[in-house]
């Protein structure tokens, strides 16, 4: 229980910090928009082409955005050594990870939901009735990106060339999320949409496996 209450307090802190400046969210949203527009120049964005390539480029844009968005989540704790204070404040260091993961998932999900209608309009695809399925896919995909990304953000924050290192470590590790979420989204974008439950199961499995690994090894990542 202490873990959850600690994590909830830290999550509140993360959300307050972000909504005071809204720097991370606004930058990420604009970045995704730019990536989507730039991608549209690489193929003819008619409806059929969009159904084939759209989900892939959408998830690529989310992945690139996440690799930038996750960068500051531990870097800003280094400025005044607030990470040391956080470690002293909580009984279980996993609470710090849990709060950061929830905050990153929330910010990523918000970006995705704001970009979805823009994407649908620009690429002439409609999601309408498939919104619950899309939401589930976005939630599981964003959670997977956040779990792995938060762990790797701690690693890259302690290395040289950290801005380049995080995407380098993150993108190959997220291959399963990219493959599966793209396939599930393609299914939902078809004229006769269908839900790939096997893909949903795989994404949930990925999230559970890496959440467990982080729970087991997270405290070593935060060692001084």
């Amino acid at each position: 229980m202490a873990l959850l209450s600690n994590a909830a307090v830290l999550l509140g802190k993360e959300v307050r910090t972000e909504f005071r400046s809204r720097e991370l969210l606004s930058t990420t949203i604009v970045f995704v928009l730019i990536v989507v527009v730039v991608f549209s120049f690489t193929f003819d964005p008619t409806t059929n082409e969009s159904r084939r390539f759209g989900p892939g480029l959408l998830w690529m844009a989310f992945l690139f955005a996440a690799s930038l968005m996750l960068q500051p989540c531990f870097l800003r704790e280094q400025v005044n050594d607030t990470l040391g204070a956080l470690r002293l404040a909580v009984s279980d260091p996993f609470a710090i990870f849990l709060a950061k993961i929830c905050a990153n998932t929330l910010f990523l999900l918000l970006t995705e939901l704001l970009m979805l209608p823009v994407f649908a309009a620009l690429f002439n695809v409609s999601f309408g009735a498939q919104l619950p399925g899309i939401l589930l896919t976005f939630l599981l995909g964003s959670l997977g990106i956040s779990v792995v990304g938060t762990a790797l953000a701690v690693i890259s924050a302690q290395a040289r060339m950290r801005e380049l290192l995080l995407p380098l470590l993150l993108l190959p590790l997220l291959t399963p999320i990219l493959v599966v979420s793209t396939e599930v989204t393609i299914g939902l974008m078809q004229p006769e949409p269908y839900m790939e439950w096997k893909g949903i199961g795989l994404m949930a499995g990925f999230d559970v496996v890496f959440l467990t690994v982080l729970w087991l090894f997270g405290e070593y990542l935060l060692e001084e």
Binding site: L169, T175, P176, V179, V180, G205, E223
Partner: protein, 225 residues
């Protein structure tokens, strides 16, 4: 020193024997012909590479648990030898695929997961060059190594669900699969030889890593005086 030289000579001699067995003892495959001979080298190197990465994973776990530098040296050593093995696999694979499938590469489950495995361990080695403090470098790379090793089966599962072209496993592949007995014997001999070669390379690279550590220690002591 003498033992190491002897081990090296034996390992290289065994590789020559394995090549002889593959070309002259194993019968020629009916449909693929001579190009199938690459299978003995390709698949056995892949097995040796995967074993090496598994040892790297164990060394990473042991480092996190025990914090002894020996496990860090073993980790980096196995990662380097594993990357070398998988590089060979990724080069011999397309050479075999082009005449048989008509293409150099296909994004199927085993090819893609091997490629991702290779990239992940290159990132592991890259990460090590970007962290200056030795204990921190050892811990962070060990943790990344654990993440990387766990990710590979999931990559395989994800791509297998999505699409696959690689032939069904002929070794331990279930009913209807399997190799002709001589081919099987030659293949397993090759697997053993590649493991011996990998063990030799690991031992040599490990002693190099140990020497590097000893030199760093002496440098620190000299600077302190």
């Amino acid at each position: 020193m003498m033992k190491r030289v002897l081990f090296g000579v034996v390992a290289i001699g065994l590789v020559a024997c394995a090549a002889y067995a593959s070309f002259y003892i194993a019968p020629e495959e009916r449909t693929m012909g001579a190009i199938q001979k690459i299978f003995y080298f390709h698949a056995s190197t892949a097995w040796a590479g995967e074993t090496t990465f598994f040892v790297c994973f164990l060394a990473n776990l042991l480092y996190i648990w025990k914090r002894q530098p020996q496990f860090d040296w073993l980790g980096v050593t196995c990662a380097e030898v594993g990357v070398a093995c998988i590089t060979v696999v990724l080069i011999t694979g397309p050479i075999w695929a082009k005449p048989v499938w008509g293409i150099w590469w296909t994004w199927d489950a085993r090819l893609t997961s091997t490629f991702v495995l290779w990239i992940l361990y290159i990132c592991y080695l890259l990460l090590r060059t970007l962290v200056d403090e030795p204990d921190r470098r050892a811990l962070l790379s060990a943790l990344f190594g654990v993440f990387a090793f766990i990710d590979v089966p999931i990559v395989f599962g994800a791509i297998r669900w999505w699409r696959t072209q690689h032939p069904a496993p002929v070794i331990m592949g279930g009913p209807g699969s399997g190799l002709e007995p001589t081919m099987k014997a030659v293949f397993f001999f090759n697997v053993a030889v590649m493991h011996v070669l990998a063990a030799f390379l690991i031992m040599e690279r490990y002693s190099l890593e140990k020497t590097k550590h000893d030199v760093e220690l002496l440098q620190h002591q000299a600077e302190a005086r």
